[in-house]
């Protein structure tokens, strides 16, 4: 913990998200307790832990689906003071703070086409361009241009994920792997500064999983945003994370680089006890 604080002082510009003393209670159940860690820009921060360790709850707090019981979540920006996520309304975290997420059980708009899914993700930008509907309704050229740009961006993502031929298909009828990828593309279309991925590799075959690794590294290196990643698939986490946070029973038990984590006795203990349950 102290090490993390030290780095944040040394390199303040690199820190994207600080989570401090985060606690989330549901009635008597403490799902997350006093968790403190940091995520940096241009880094992939993995969050691992046995089932029920509080990973998804942590995510839900960061992305505004739950209001944390106590603790502070600050998102550092290049311009202006940090945003305190715990005080923001759910949708504002996507809109203002630009934290995007995916869901453990994919939540696309199944009846809408893949391309439309990506257009919806650019809603706020397009709403402004359409003069909050009024200018768009009378067909102003400014809006048309904005829409064409948005479409181009969506198509670029579809190309990047190799699913441009599926653009007009309903998202719900896409193959599973394509749905996972589309959800990531949709999150990326919101122009996030922090991308939170909840088990993106779940249900993927090894080849798709490798492609996903490649994609995430590309997002990190080329777009330069921070990624927060919950994952069970150790080959993904250990392979691409720059930094790993380990949770167990709602508490943070370790925090460090993949190599450090692999040697950490607390982690080994937590995992060996739960190996059968956890190994998917």
């Amino acid at each position: 913990m102290s090490a993390a604080a030290a780095t944040s002082v040394a390199l303040p510009d690199d820190t994207l998200l600080t989570v401090e003393h985060l606690t989330m209670r549901f009635g008597g159940l403490v799902a997350v307790e006093e968790v403190t860690f940091e995520a940096k820009r241009r880094q992939i921060t993995g969050v691992i832990g046995p089932n029920g360790a509080g990973k998804t709850t942590l995510f839900n707090c960061i992305t505004g689906f739950y209001k944390p019981t106590t603790g502070r979540l600050s998102l550092h920006r290049d311009d202006g003071p940090p945003l305190l996520l715990e005080q923001m309304d759910g949708y504002l975290i996507g809109q203002k703070a630009r934290v995007a997420r995916t869901f453990q059980n994919i939540r696309l708009f199944p009846g809408m086409s893949a391309l439309e899914n990506l257009m919806v993700a650019q809603h706020n930008k397009l709403m402004r361009a359409s003069g909050f509907t009024f200018l768009g309704l009378i067909g102003m050229p400014g809006y048309r241009r904005a829409e064409a740009e948005a479409k181009e961006k969506a198509v670029r993502w579809l190309e990047r994920l190799g699913m441009v031929n599926l653009a007009d298909d309903p998202a719900g009828s896409l193959p599973y792997g394509a749905q996972r990828r589309l959800e990531i593309a949709r999150a990326m279309c919101t122009d996030p500064v922090l991308l939170c991925l909840d088990e993106p590799a779940a249900g993927l075959n090894p080849r798709e999983s490798a492609e996903l690794n490649h994609l995430l590294l590309e997002i990190r290196d080329q777009i330069g945003i921070g990624i927060l990643l919950i994952e069970h698939d150790m080959s993904v986490v250990m392979g691409i994370s720059d930094h790993i946070v380990v949770l167990d029973y709602g508490r943070k038990i370790a925090d460090g680089t993949p190599t450090e984590i692999q040697r950490d006795p607390a982690v080994i203990r937590a995992y060996l006890g739960e190996e059968e349950k956890d190994d998917r």
């Binding site: 549901f26 839900n60 869901f103």
Partner: protein, 310 residues
């Protein structure tokens, strides 16, 4: 203490009315608890209960049965059995096939069922309101009416019957839900329908029974209203349904004691509102409460907060 007799009278009226709403509200709350939908047709099931009880009363008259307890018992049994059949049928036809479909489909189907039942009754029983002769007249005179001509506080026998029946039924019902295997199965289905069915709970049957129980209680409410107000028409379930739903929401939807509490509160509010403000706007008062509760305390008085699963 001039105000007290008038106040007491409203309290008595409110409790009577509240018992009726409470019994209907239980049907809403149980169905909502188990399958998470508003059974819009429930108010009409109550209306059908009232009609069945009314017809039984007429038959008793035609057969020359005049012993009041016998009439009450016959009305109760017949209207409960026949109305329960309606509850079962509504679920079987309009809701069961839609289980697991989109969110909107069962709601629209429920609205359709409500419109269907209302118009079916209008067609088979005629559109006119049916005046029913009161079966139980008279009551205790609690206060007033002496030489000073003060306000008379009446506690009708019928009001006593209504409150008594409600209390007995509620007690029996709470015991049944709390201690029987049906109650356990219901709660299991509420928690997780899929898991319950994997563990051998017959989910279809449990849900059907929930509808049957709800309809039975609504039938009792309908019977009591028939005897108390004695003016049934095919549209009576509409407003009563909304108010009972308000009661269920006020008490905390999904909670049985909540439904009863909410029912009594709505009954009291309506009685006092009519007495002290304006009788014309009593329905507006109920709807306003619904909106206010939903805004400020959507979980109701006794409900538990819903944690959204993401």
């Amino acid at each position: 203490m001039d105000w007290f007799p008038y106040f007491l009278q409203q309290l008595i009226n409110g409790l009577t009315l509240g018992s009726v709403y409470g019994l209907i509200a239980i049907g809403y709350t149980m169905v909502y608890g188990i399958i998470g939908m508003v059974n819009f047709a429930h108010g009409d099931v109550y209306m059908i209960g009232a009609f069945q009880a009314m017809i039984m009363l007429l038959i008793c008259g035609a057969l020359g049965i005049s012993w009041v307890p016998a009439i009450l018992l016959l009305m109760l049994i017949v209207s409960v059995v026949l109305t329960a059949a309606y509850g079962w049928t509504v679920e079987r036809i309009a809701y069961r096939p839609l289980r697991g479909s989109s969110r909107l489909a069962p709601l629209i189907s429920a609205i359709g069922m409500s419109v269907l039942l209302e118009n079916y009754v209008q067609l088979v029983q005629g559109p006119r309101p049916k005046p029913v002769e009161p079966l139980i007249r008279g009551g205790f005179q609690l206060m007033g009416g002496g030489a000073d001509n003060s306000f008379v506080v009446q506690l009708g026998y019928m009001q006593i019957v209504i409150v008594m029946i409600t209390i007995i039924l509620m007690g029996a019902f709470a015991m049944a839900i709390g201690n029987t295997s049906l109650g356990r199965q219901q709660r299991a289905c509420e928690q997780d329908m899929k898991m319950a069915s994997l563990l051998g709970v017959n989910v279809d049957r449990t849900i059907s029974l929930t509808f049957v129980l709800g309809a039975a209680l609504a039938a009792v409410a309908g019977m009591m209203v028939t005897l108390y107000y004695g003016n049934n028409d095919f549209f009576m379930g509409f407003v009563a349904g909304i108010k009972a739903f308000t009661a269920a929401v006020l008490g905390g939807i999904g909670s049985l004691p909540g439904a009863m509490l909410g029912g009594i509160l709505i009954g009291l509010i309506e009685a006092f509102w009519s007495a002290y403000f304006s009788a014309e706007y009593k329905d507006v008062a109920a709807f306003s409460i619904l909106v206010l509760v939903l805004i400020f305390r959507p979980t109701g008085l006794l409900g538990r907060p819903e944690v959204e699963k993401v």
